[in-house]
């Protein structure tokens, strides 16, 4: 019997077809992977199933019965629960309060005790241990995710949609999540596991359906496939999964941080005496769960945040209190972690974005030299394979991967010596990731010094020559890449060993 059947689902947003006649059958009690690159239409499809969007055409069958799902409330009534990528919890409330929020036990007064016992009972039944009276603000990300799952279970969900559930977890937490998923399957729940990675669905799913560019590619049984086939289905061509890395040739130190401290936006200490040395010709990876000071470290080096203590040297010059402009001229480039908020100006054209920070160099007299700006843009568009209708296209209409290429092209074109790359491939599809990784390695081999900050452990391990792990604002360990295993990194990231 099938728990969910989607038949010929089509959804358009303006001119783009997000879902093009997609049909998928999900069996009752199975863990079903939904795989595809960013923009393949996975989330749109699941939002239709959850009633957040309505399909332009097509039908939905729940437990073999045709069902109209007009809003999330109706989806919940059908037994569907969705755990979003970004959790939707109230930090000041306790775990139990969050779980029962909106469907509290009946009565005029809120029966906290009853809520607690209900939640306890629920968490025992499915083996999802949580402390119901702990406030969410004090819970870890892994626990928050459990709370989200419990929230769905409390609303009697039989079909659980997990949207990229591992994106925010360290490897050990992923293992815990997989245990939970197996337990849920044991008790007869159906689970839809959305992912754009290859290994995770292989490890947990019974069957995997692949989407590409809004179309359904096929459903495969996990046991009868491998990551190469999945990658081919996802991208539509052969993909080189293993990077070819030439041996490292470490040269002179380029960037030296000496006991650097800084505050975060809430004026609390975010960096605690961070020290490291980055050499020419190497990639130093900064690993860590997000929010452990990596963003602040990048801001401090790139002159976007005040240094509270310590010293930063760039080619033995003190740059501790330099502004971004000065740093650019000295040869620093920065791929920011949030390309939409910081990397580009969405309403500018591609050509305008490609001169950001160099606008004064593109003048003829007092006016901007339009011809040279467009020529410059066309050169970078060709060199970096940016897919855009023209240099005068408004930048925000480009896909995520092409936007990132705009950022990379602009930053690399200034002939920098020092590269600060923060989450350079986050949210990009396999093809774009391949490209950007290749570019970073190219610069490393040409003698560039690269600081790679990433929450993606696979990326850190694939690219880095050395790995430093950040936990709670400090670098807790530094290893040569060949000595690092996923397990040791995971434990260091979680702050378990020091």
């Amino acid at each position: 019997m099938n728990a969910v059947v989607l038949r010929n689902i089509t959804k358009r947003f303006g001119d783009t077809v997000a879902n093009d006649c997609i049909s998928i059958a999900i069996g009752k009690g199975e863990v079903h992977g939904l795989l595809g690159e960013n923009g393949a239409g996975k989330t749109t499809l699941m939002n239709i199933l959850y009633g957040l969007y309505s399909a332009d055409s097509g039908s939905i069958f729940i437990n073999e019965e045709e069902t109209q799902i007009r809003n999330p409330k109706e989806a919940i009534l059908c037994g569907i629960g969705m755990i979003h990528q970004h959790f939707m919890l109230v930090p000041v409330l306790t775990i139990a309060e969050n779980i029962v929020l909106g469907v509290e036990p009946p009565g005029i007064l809120f029966d906290r005790k009853k809520a607690c016992t209900q939640v306890e009972e629920l968490s025992r039944r499915y083996g999802l241990s949580v402390d119901p009276s702990c406030t969410v603000a004090n819970a870890s990300v892994g626990i928050e995710q459990r709370v989200e799952i419990l929230k769905a279970l409390y609303r009697k969900a039989d079909i659980l949609i997990l949207d990229e559930p591992t994106a925010v977890l360290v490897p050990q937490e992923v293992e815990e999540l997989f245990k939970v998923i197996r337990a849920l399957k044991q008790s007869g729940k159906t689970i839809i596991f959305i992912s754009h990675k290859l290994r995770e669905p292989m490890a947990i799913c019974d069957r995997i359906s692949v989407l590409r560019k809004g179309r359904f590619v096929g459903t495969v049984v996990t046991e009868k496939t491998d990551t190469h086939e999945l990658a081919r289905m996802m991208v539509g061509r052969e993909v080189e999964l293993n990077l070819k890395k030439s041996p490292m040739r470490r040269r002179a130190p380029v960037l030296i941080a000496e006991s650097v401290s800084a505050l975060n936006d809430r004026l609390l200490p975010a960096l605690k005496e961070v020290s490291f040395t980055l050499h020419s010709g190497e990639i130093l990876g900064i690993a860590g769960v997000e929010g452990n000071g990596q963003s602040e470290l990048v801001d401090v080096i790139t002159g976007l945040r005040k240094v509270a203590g310590g010293k930063i040297l760039f080619n033995s010059e003190d740059i501790t209190h330099s502004d971004p402009k000065t740093l650019h001229t000295k040869g620093l480039c920065h791929i920011p972690e949030d390309r939409y908020k910081r990397g580009i100006i969405g309403d500018f054209t591609v050509a305008e974005n490609l001169i950001l920070g160099q606008e004064d160099a593109f003048r003829k007299g007092i006016f901007l030299d339009e011809g040279r700006i467009v020529a410059h843009a066309q050169g970078l568009i060709d060199a970096f394979n940016i897919i855009t209708p023209s240099p005068k296209t408004i930048c925000k209409t480009l896909s995520g991967g092409n936007l990132q290429k705009v950022v990379v092209a602009r930053e690399f074109s200034r002939n920098p010596r020092l590269f600060i790359a923060a989450q350079p491939t986050r949210g990009l599809d396999v093809g774009a990731i391949e490209y950007i990784h290749g570019k970073l390695l190219e610069e490393r081999d040409a003698g560039g010094a690269i600081l790679l900050v990433s929450a993606d452990l696979d990326e850190i391990m694939a690219l880095s020559d050395r790995i430093a792990i950040m936990y709670e604002g400090a670098i807790v360990a530094e290893l040569e890449a060949q000595n690092a295993t996923e397990e040791t990194l995971g434990l260091l990231m979680a702050g378990v060993v020091k």
Partner: protein, 339 residues
């Protein structure tokens, strides 16, 4: 290009809709909408005098529209155009009265004095924003009161001309902007307004300073990341925005009244906000918006003279135009909320 055409169409339908609704209102209050509109149209475009009146009323509105649009391109809301216009007007008047120079020096000098005063008046809120994060909406509104009342004091006491009215004496002939059509209010201020619209366009879209200003307006975080100093750019933008408003006062003083009269502005600075909204914060749009409002003003005064319909109704129509022009944006926002 397609967007410009659709924007123009939107604005056109908004005006049509506003006039229709205005007609209903006129009928509801017991007057004839047809004769009212006929009077309004004749007063705005009926003969060369009417057209001159429309253009004369549009001139200061072009400047204040540019003022608001310029600041907006840097992400700032300059609500202080009124105060900047008034202090600009007084500075120009005093230069016109107390300095003697040949005409080709005197006029530019008076213009520069007006720009400097208006610019200074906006620079203060700009600096307060950059230094302390004080919101420019609040500070520019406050500066309106300070500016208007300060000028009022100055022409009531130190610079008051003999007589009952709170005004200065006439400016010297050498500081007077020539009339374009004799016996009308239309002066060379209109040419000045068109010139500065073009300069504003060049500055914002063709220079690297304009690039920086627009970058800060669209995304200050990205601008800062790119090495632009947003605080400095904001201060500069406010100052230029204030200069444009100040020029509005200059045109009125040197071209129309030939002296500074207390309360000479019937709210040009505030109407500038509407002009900028109507013109989508573009200099060319500001010209079109100012022409519409100038026509409504000139026509409204004529309508008031020859029919029983009160001129206040013109303000209702103005308000309706603004409402309908901003409506597509409103619908878009509501649409987004629903999703």
């Amino acid at each position: 290009m397609r967007k410009i055409v659709s924007d123009l169409l939107y604005s056109f339908f908004a005006i049509l809709l506003a006039l229709l609704l205005g007609a209903l209102l006129i009928e509801a209050t017991g007057y004839s909408s047809l004769s009212a509109y006929a009077a309004l149209f004749r007063g705005a475009f009926g003969d060369s005098y009417a057209i001159a009146q429309t253009l004369a009323k549009a001139s200061p509105l072009i400047f204040t529209g540019l003022c608001v649009a310029f600041a907006f391109r840097c992400g700032l809301f300059n609500i202080g155009g009124e105060g900047q216009l008034v202090v600009g007007g007084l500075a120009a008047a005093l230069t016109g009265i107390y300095i003697s120079a040949p005409i080709f020096i005197h006029i530019p000098l008076a213009i520069l004095a007006g720009m400097a005063a208006g610019g200074m008046w906006a620079l203060i809120p700009g600096w307060l924003k950059a230094r302390f994060g004080a919101h420019e909406v609040i500070t520019t509104i406050m500066m309106n009161y300070v500016g208007i009342l300060l000028c009022s004091y100055l022409v009531n006491y130190p610079f008051k001309a003999p007589g009952w009215v709170a005004q200065t004496v006439f400016i010297k002939e050498s500081a007077t902007l020539p009339k374009l059509i004799p016996k009308t209010q239309l002066s060379a201020a209109l040419l000045l307004a068109l010139l500065f619209s073009f300069l504003t366009y060049l500055f914002l879209w063709k220079t690297s300073w304009g690039y920086k200003i627009r970058a800060v307006g669209l995304n200050p975080t990205s601008a800062e990341y790119g090495g632009i100093n947003p605080a400095r750019v904001m201060i500069l933008s406010m100052a230029i925005s204030g200069m444009l408003a100040g020029l509005g006062g200059v045109g009125e003083v040197l071209g129309v009244h030939k002296r500074f009269i207390d309360g000479f502005s019937p709210g040009y600075g505030f109407d500038g906000i509407a002009v900028a909204v109507l013109g989508r914060n573009h200099p060319a749009g500001a010209i079109l918006g100012a022409l519409l409002f100038g026509a409504l003003r000139a026509g409204g005064m004529a309508m008031d003279r020859v029919t029983d319909v009160p001129a206040d109704l013109v303000f209702v129509i103005q308000a309706l135009v603004i409402l309908f022009v901003s409506a597509p944006e409103m619908f878009r926002i509501i649409g987004r909320l629903k999703k």
